[in-house]
Amino acid sequence: MKDLFKGNFAYVKNSKYLWMFAGGLILICLILNLILGTSVDVAFKGGTLAKFAYEGDLTEQAVVDYLSKDFKLNALDVQLSEATASGSDEKYQLINIYTTDELGTDEVTKLADGLTKNFAANKLTQDSINSIQSTMGKMFFLKCMVAVAIAAVVLIIYVGLRFRKIGGWPAGVMAMVALLHDLTIAYFAFVLFRIPLNDNFVAVVLTILGYSLNGTIVVYDRVRANRRKLRAPLTEVANVSLNETFKRNLNTFITTFLAIATVAVVAFVENLDAIISFAIPMAVGVVAGFFSSTFLCIPAWVAWMNKREAKKAAKERSGGKK
């Protein structure tokens, strides 16, 4: 660790352990994911999510009993939660009703009227409604995934073209692997913090792709410059370059993390769900992006390039024998 800050850390040699660490972490997250499951927001899965504010005491069962008696709703799920009202610390209570049915405006009005009458003592008011056709939700999800794929491909092509002098395609592919790592970690952040996957997920993933690649590019850029300057084996050039750029990567990581972590903390204190679900995964993703562009991507690329060199050398030798 001391070597890291002194600027003579053997990145390539130590990358084995760091890759193992990353792999282990992903494995643990995967197991946790299998246990916790993944929740998906209405925006993607479709259906209706209706929230009503209420006062006094209420049980989930009472709402379920009433709704299943008067309304035939598929896959009904009722939960109670707490939120903070605007401009004060006053907490208010919410009923969250989800069904896979796509309720139209008329049906929601009927539902709201029925609930308000039946639970008159709780003074229900409509807080927020989301009703999405499941086909549209699913198509939107697909669109987001295609967009992520397009972004990844465009970025990799860009890296490949910019760095073709130092072996563009391996550089691009390894950058892609690093991005996959970031993407996975960002996804797990949603799972572990029990945040439903929504459009924020796409914003987080794409931003992290850009951020992480930015860090990777700075190192590749330095490798390109140092190769001309040092005329040393690639492993050494990579180590020198990574050490030289470490301070930059670290400091940019600190400022970016400070920015998004401040947002996350303030959102957490103020109980702003819409922002928490954006800022926390983004903060986690920034850490992942810093880690992968500093420790994972370049060493793996060096290993690939060295292997390629060795193969080439072996071929030449056997070719020479003939």
Binding site: D127, F140, A147, V218, N251, T256
Partner: protein, 470 residues
């Protein structure tokens, strides 16, 4: 080498300070009671419905309706727009998504509204349009059971939307103006002939109504017996298209239904805005402290540049620049501004690190700065390009289908519907603007300031740019 004059620092500084001040506070002129924005400030920013509360809905033709044309979808959009304006809602967003035959509507609650009923609001703007033609254009005011007042025509009914075939825009070579040509169905020809005869002889008009709005009242210049009329006089392309779209929408013989909708009550939003502004201020201060402690003089310059970048982002959403319309700012949009502060300082960090390296090698101050600035450019450029690509893709995916970026991505995403929610679009925009202003401030302005400020004797110390203390 040409040296940067000492005054450059002050000029750049004053320009940035002026930008910061005006973009936050705006410049206003008072005309009696009216307060007009000469330059729009932060108070002119249009906030998204996730902050103000409001409704977000997608309208589609009712199930079983086929053969809907793009023009008809455009007509539905225009009718919805007309109704929103009639309801006193002016800061709405309405997009026609012709590829998916849907119309997307977003509008905030009116600030004085106390009774939030999104279902009723959507039912009202989504109802089938009623088009009607009346004798004359005199009106009287009528009040309904709920106390709403309407303008109603006093003349007799001539035709309804059911009698209208279509309306199209054409350019009249004789008058050199645009005009609207109106085609009636068989059912309406006789009534229209009678009406035009009567009004032509008396020099009267026929007014065209959509719901409770009189959209046009042309003077009758000829008796029209074949059901094919033209409405002309004072139209440009836009106003003629509007009228034709509205008539077409009124002649629609299909209903539209709400396919998706979401509503947010205004209680959540306001505190969220305050919290995000607070988060922005704290983040800026933390980053400023960190960067000044780490990079000394280049750090101070970076903070000035960063203030300019934030001001630029604010200006880009408030409509400060006359060439950029204001942009709806959502919570993720604000997060985008804050995030681009953290990310944007990267340009200064890369440059400052390079300068420091050069200074430690024992180069002169001017030499270190010149080399540092030059050698850091390619990394900064590449880094900004990647984030910019990401921002453009985000805007294309989440933006309205008619947007520039959506059109760029159309070959890849044409089979998909428009986004079911709209908050991320704003994030893409603030991220993109953050990067652009970062390029101006973090690269060019910073460089100018640094090169000129180090010409002052008290700043000519290697330690200040990260070298070893003498």
């Amino acid at each position: 080498m040409k040296r940067t004059p000492k005054a450059a620092f002050f000029i750049v500084f004053v320009v940035i300070a002026a930008l910061v001040y005006t973009s936050f506070f705006g410049v206003y002129q008072n005309f009696g009671d009216r307060r007009d924005a000469v330059i729009k400030g932060a108070s002119d920013i249009r906030f998204g419905i996730d902050i103000r509360g409001g409704v977000d809905a997608t309208f589609k033709p009712a199930e079983g309706v086929t053969g809907v044309t793009d023009d008809q979808i455009q007509g539905v959009k225009d009718v919805i727009e007309l109704r929103l304006v009639a309801d006193g809602i002016t800061d709405y967003e309405v997009y026609a998504d012709t590829a998916n035959q849907s119309v997307i509507v977003r509008f905030p609650w009116k600030s004085d509204e106390t009774n939030f009923d999104p279902q009723a609001a959507l039912a009202e703007i989504g109802q089938t349009a009623r088009l009607a033609f009346y004798y004359g254009h005199e009106t009287t005011t009528e009040t309904d059971a709920e106390g709403n007042t309407y303008q109603v025509p006093t003349g007799d009914l001539v035709l309804t939307g059911a009698d209208v075939d279509n309306a199209t825009v054409y350019f009249d070579n004789e008058s050199g103006e645009y005009a609207v040509s109106l085609k009636l169905l068989e059912s309406g020809k006789e009534a229209f002939a009678t009406a035009t005869k009567k009004q032509y002889e008396s020099g009267g008009t026929i007014s065209i109504w959509l719901d409770h709005d009189m959209i046009s009242y042309p003077k009758v210049n000829a008796v029209i017996g074949d059901g094919s009329a033209s409405i002309s006089g004072g139209f440009d392309l836009e106003s003629a298209t509007d009228l034709a779209n509205l008539i077409n929408a009124g002649a629609l013989d299909f209903d539209i239904v709400v396919a998706n909708y979401g509503s947010i009550s205004p209680t959540l939003g306001a505190s969220a805005l305050d919290a995000m502004v607070l988060a922005g201020i704290i983040a800026f201060i933390l980053i400023a402290i960190f960067i000044i402690l780490t990079y000394r003089l280049p750090g101070v310059i970076a903070v000035i540049a960063l203030a300019g970048q934030v001001a630029g982002s604010i200006a880009a959403v408030s409509g400060y620049f006359s060439f950029l319309n204001g942009f709806t700012l959502t919570l993720p949009g604000i997060a985008g501004i804050i995030l681009s502060v953290g990310m944007g300082i990267d340009a200064n960090v890369i440059t400052a690190e390079r300068i420091r390296e050069e200074a430690r090698l024992g180069k002169t101050i001017d030499g270190s700065i010149a080399t540092g600035c030059k050698s850091s450019f390619s990394a900064i450029f590449d880094g900004n390009v990647t984030t910019m690509l990401v921002a453009v893709i985000l805007m294309g995916v989440f933006g309205p289908p008619s947007g520039l970026f959506a059109k760029i991505l159309y070959p890849f995403l044409f089979m998909f519907p428009a986004a079911t929610t709209g908050t991320v679009y704003s994030f893409g925009y603030t991220l993109l603007m953050g990067i652009i202003f970062n390029f101006i401030m973090g690269v060019f302005a910073s460089r100018l300031m640094l090169q000129s400020v180090t010409r002052f004797k008290i700043f000519r110390k290697p330690w200040l740019i990260g070298g070893v203390r003498e």
